[in-house]
C-alpha cells in the first residue's frame, strides 16, 4: 500500500500534460510523468519515492504510436515492452527488452519508462545507442528531435517537465545482423550480471553494455579495439576489458571479478556470433 496521497491526472494531449506539469511545479509540488507505473508504484510502496501528482501519458496519441513512417520506425514512449517485441519491427530491440523483468511486468513496463528508469540497467537503451536512434522531446510548446546519444549520458538528461514522446529509428538499421546476450545470477528473470547488444554495420561491430558499469553505455574506444583486425581476437578482448569507462560493477548480482569473467566469455561469444571470431 502507498501511504501518501497523490493526484492522478490522465491528459489527452501533449499540451495538457505539459500544462499540468507546469502548474503543479509552479505550486511548489513534485510532479512526475507516469507511464507503465511499475517503478513508481513499487518504489512508492516502500517509501523510496514521494510524489504529489503523477501525469499518465498513456492516453496521448503521440506516445502510443508504433509504425514505420517512410524510412523511420517511430515508437511511442508509452508502448509496452511486450507490444514492441511482438510487433517484430526491430528484432534486436524486441529481443533485448524481452529479457527485462518477467512477462507480466513487460505488459506494463514501457520503453519510455525503461529509458528513464531509476535502476542502473535500462537495457532498452542498448539497441537504441547502436542504431543512432533519435528521440522526440517536448517541453511546453517546443518539440525537438535529437540523437539519443546527445541527451543520454549515463541517464536521460532532460529538463524538468520535458517529456520523452517518441523514439525514432532508421529502418535500414533494423535489418542488420545482431546479437543480444544476457547473463543473470541464476534465474532467467533478473537484473543482468552482464547484458550486451551488438550489430555489425559496414563490417564494424557496434556494441553496448548494461551491468558492466553503473550505467548502460556504448564506447567508441571499446568498439575501435574490437574492430582492430590487426590484433588477435583474444588480444582485442583483453584490451577492451581494460579500456572500459569505469571500474566494473560490484553488487548483489555479481562481484567485480566475476563480472569480468562473464564479460570475457560474452565478448568471445558475440565476436563468434557476429562472424568476427577466430
Amino acid at each position: 500500500m502507498i501511504a501518501f496521497d497523490f493526484n492522478y491526472i490522465k491528459p489527452a494531449t501533449v499540451a495538457e500534460a505539459n500544462q499540468t506539469y507546469t502548474m503543479v511545479h509552479d505550486q511548489g509540488d513534485h510532479a512526475m510523468y507516469f507511464s507503465g507505473g511499475t517503478e513508481i508504484i513499487t518504489r512508492a510502496r516502500v517509501n523510496e519515492l514521494k510524489v504529489d501528482t503523477v501525469i499518465d501519458i498513456k492516453e496521448i496519441a503521440e506516445c502510443t504510436v508504433m509504425e514505420v513512417q517512410d524510412d523511420k520506425l517511430v515508437i511511442g514512449a508509452a508502448m509496452s515492452l511486450n507490444h514492441i517485441t511482438n510487433s517484430n519491427l526491430f528484432p534486436l530491440l524486441g529481443e533485448t527488452i524481452k529479457k527485462i523483468a518477467d512477462h507480466t511486468s513487460r505488459n506494463k513496463i514501457t520503453i519510455g519508462g525503461n529509458i528513464n528508469s531509476e535502476l542502473i540497467y535500462k537495457e532498452s537503451v542498448l539497441p537504441l545507442l547502436l542504431v543512432d536512434a533519435k528521440v522526440k522531446l517536448v517541453k511546453g510548446t517546443k518539440e525537438k528531435i535529437v540523437p539519443l546519444s546527445s541527451v543520454f549520458d549515463k541517464k536521460l538528461k532532460v529538463q524538468a517537465g520535458e517529456l520523452l514522446l517518441q523514439v525514432i529509428i532508421d529502418t535500414e538499421y533494423t535489418k542488420l545482423p545482431y546479437a543480444s546476450l544476457k547473463k543473470t545470477r541464476f534465474s532467467k528473470v533478473g537484473y543482468p550480471v552482464i547484458s550486451a547488444a551488438a550489430i555489425v554495420k559496414d563490417k564494424k561491430i557496434r556494441i553496448a553494455f548494461s551491468g558492466v558499469c553503473e550505467y548502460p553505455f556504448r564506447s567508441q574506444e571499446v568498439e575501435n579495439i574490437l574492430n582492430d583486425s590487426k590484433k588477435s581476437v583474444s588480444e582485442r578482448i583483453e584490451k577492451a576489458i581494460n579500456s572500459l569507462p569505469t571500474n566494473v560493477l560490484d553488487d548483489l548480482q555479481g562481484s567485480n571479478e566475476y563480472r569480468v569473467f562473464v564479460l570475457r566469455n560474452m565478448l568471445y561469444d558475440i565476436m563468434e556470433e557476429m562472424g568476427m571470431g577466430e
Binding site: M1, A3, F4, R45, R185
Partner: protein, 781 residues
Amino acid sequence: MANKIWTTVGTPEQRIDAVEKSTGKVRYVGDYSVPGLMHAKLVKSTQAHARITSIDTTEAWKIPGVRAVVTGEMFPFHIGPILADRPPLAFEKVRYYGEPVAIVVADHEHQAKLATTKVKVEYEPLPIVNSVQQAFQQDAPLVHENAGQYTKIIDNVYPKSGTNIGSHIKIRKGDFDSAWASCEETITANYSFNLSDHVALETRSTRVEINPAGKVIVHSCSQSPFTIKKVLNQFFNVDVGNILVHIPMVGGAFGGKGTVQLEPLAYLASKAVGGKLVKLEFDREEDMITGPCRIGLDATVQLGATKEGKLVAGKYTYLLDSGAYSDQAAGITRAAAIDCTGPYHIPNVWCDSYCIYTNHPFATSFRGYGHPELTFAVERTIDQLAKKLQIDPVQFRILNGIKPGHTSPTQTGLTANNIGDVEKCLNRARELIKWDEGQKIEIGKNKVRTKGISLFWKTSTTATNAQAGAILTFEADGSVNLNCAAIELGQGTKTVLGQILAEKLGMDMKKIHVTMETNTQYDPHQWRTVASSSTFLAGRAVISAAENAIAQLKKTASIVLQCTPEDLEVGGGRVFLTPDPTFGVEIKDIAIGYTYPSGHSIEGQVVGVGKHVQRHLTPMDEQTGFGKPGPWWSVGVQAVEVELNTRDFTYSILNAVTVLDGGTIINPMTATQQMRGGMYMGLSYATSEKFIFDHNGVVQNTGLRNYPVLRYGEQPAEYLVEFIETPAADGPFGARGIGEYGVIGAAACLANSLSVGTEVELTQLPLTPEVIWQAKKVEKQ
C-alpha cells in the same frame, strides 16, 4: 485391519480444497474486513545492533486517524517458545535490522503506514555480530548480555551467559577419540551458508480484539493456534479459557508460521485502543526480514572409515545461525544433534550442536527443521569420503546405511517398525536416475551431464506429550462432519484425514465433510501442525473417533435390528448383520437417533470423539544426548541430473528423483505432489536463495526484487517420485509423516552432482554460477 483391501486409503482422491482454491474463492485471514477494523503498522529498526536512546512519537500523532503508538517500554518482557529471550517490541536495544520497535494503530492502513515514517528513533550503534564464526569467538560482542538468565520454557535448552551461545546440545555415543585414531581413511570438511526465507505466498497476517467481556479473539494464519493461547496466557496473563483462536485456510507456511510473533503485537495494539479489532498484516519485505526466517549454518564434519569403507567414527560441529533470538532455532539445534549422522550406522559419534546468536533476523523452523541443512554437510562429506576410498557413492551408502538393530545417535533402538528401508530406497533411486549409465557423461563442447545422489532421514521431535483430538458429528443424510485442529496450509492434511475417516467408516469421500478452518473453542486440542506430525497424530485421533462413532452406531442399530452390537458391521452408509448384509439399517436413519413409527426415539445423535498422544518419548540427557526424542524415522533418497556448461558454470536441472519410505501412502497423488513441491523448494534454496548482509549486518536483499526464488519453468524438466511402503505398525493404516521430506536431500544431491561436473568440492549455498566459479578459482590458487 492389515488384510482388508482398502477402498479410499491408498487412492489418489482429489483434494477437498481443490475447487475452492483453483477458482480463487478461498478467503485467507488478510482478506477479511469489517466496519470499525483498525490497522496496525510497525516501526522497524534501521540498525542491526544498537542501543535505543530515544523514541519521539510527536510527529506520528499528528497524522490524521492515528489512535495509538505502542513502544517497547510498555511491555518490557521477553517471550519465546523454548527460551524466553525475545521482547515483542525491542526495548533498550535492537538486535536485528527490521526488528519491531513501535506499533502505530490508525483507522486506515495508509494512515498507520505514513505515521510509522514519522516516529523518530535515535540509536547508538553497538558492535555487530555478523556471522556465527565471529559470534563463537571468545571476545565477540554479545547479542544478549545475560542469555543464561532467560526463562526456559521447555527442557533441553542450555544458554550460556557471557557468550553468544543460546543452546548447546551434545551427542556422545561410543568412544569417538579412540575410534578416530584407528580409522584408516578420514576426511574433515567445512560448509557454510547464510540465513534465508520461507517466501510463503501468503504473508503473515492477524486480527486481534479484546471483547468487552475480556475474551481475546485472535484470527491468524498460524500453524500453532494452541501455542498462541499458551503465549498469551503465559506472558500476557490472560486466562487460557478466555483466548479464542481462529485459523482459516493458510496460504503456505513451511514452518514460518509456527512462531507466535504477530499475535502478541496485535494484542498489544488492540489493548492500546480499548480492545478494538486490530489487523496487522506484513508486507512482503516485513515478512522476509521482520518475521522469522530460516537458519544459517556453519558445519564441520569429520568421518573416519576402514579401508573397506565401513564407517567407524563421526564428529559433527554445527554452528546454527539463529539470528537475534533463539525461537525455534534452539529446537533445531537439538534436532540437528539427534539426527547428526544422517541415516548411517556409525558406532562412535561425537556431536556439538550450537544455537548461536548473531545480529541477523531471527530464525525459526523451516520445512525439514535443520535436516536439509545437516544433510547438505553430511552428504557432501559422504561423497568426498567415497571418492577417497574409491567406492561408488551409492555402494558406499548401501554399505553404511542404517538398519533395524542399529541405534540412532541418541541411542534409540531401531526396529523394522520405526525406521524405513534405506537399501530399497537407494536401489530404486539408482534405477530411476539411471545411475549405472554413468555419473558423468560428456555431451558436447563444454557440456556435461552429471548425477548426484543424497540419502536422508528425519524424525519428528514433537513435544513428549504432543497430541491431537477429533470430533465427528453426523448429518441427517448420514454424512459426517470431521472437526480437528490440524491446520490446512496447502499440504493436504484435511484431505488425508478425510480419507482415513472414509476408510474407517467404509463410506464414500463425498459423505465426509472436513471443516477446513480451525477454532480452538470447539476443536479439540492439537499440539501444532508442524514436524510432519498431523497424518500420524490427527490420523490416529480420527481413527479413534471413528471407532467411537462406530460403537455408537452399532449400539443404536442393535436395538433397531434386535441383535447384539457384536453381530454388526458398518459400511456403505449402513449398519448390517455380518452374516447377512442385506439385513441392516441405513446410517441416516440412526445417525441422529432412531425414531420408531410410534414416534418414540432412542439413543439420540452419534458424536464420535477420539484422541491420540505420543507415547514413550523422553527428553535427552544433557551430557550424552541419550533419549528417545521421536516416534519414527522416515528415510529417503533424492537424486538429480544436471546439464552443466563447464566453461561458464551455468546449468539446468534435467531430472529430479525422490524415493521415500513413508510407510503406507494414504494419498499417492498428494504425496507425490508434496515430494515435487519439496524438491522444487529445496532446489530453489540450493540454487538461488540467501540473505546478503553488509558489514553493518543490514540485509541487502529485503524483497523479491533482489531475493530470487526459482520460477515456474525453471523446475527440473522431469520429477520422478516413488514410494517404498514399509508400514509403520503404529501409524494410521501404517502411514508415517512425509510433509517435510521432499525438501531434505535436494541441496545435497544438487551439490554432489555439480561437484562431479565441475571437479571441485562445493561447500557453499546457493550454488550460483558465481559461487562455483569462486570455488574453482580458490582451488586453482
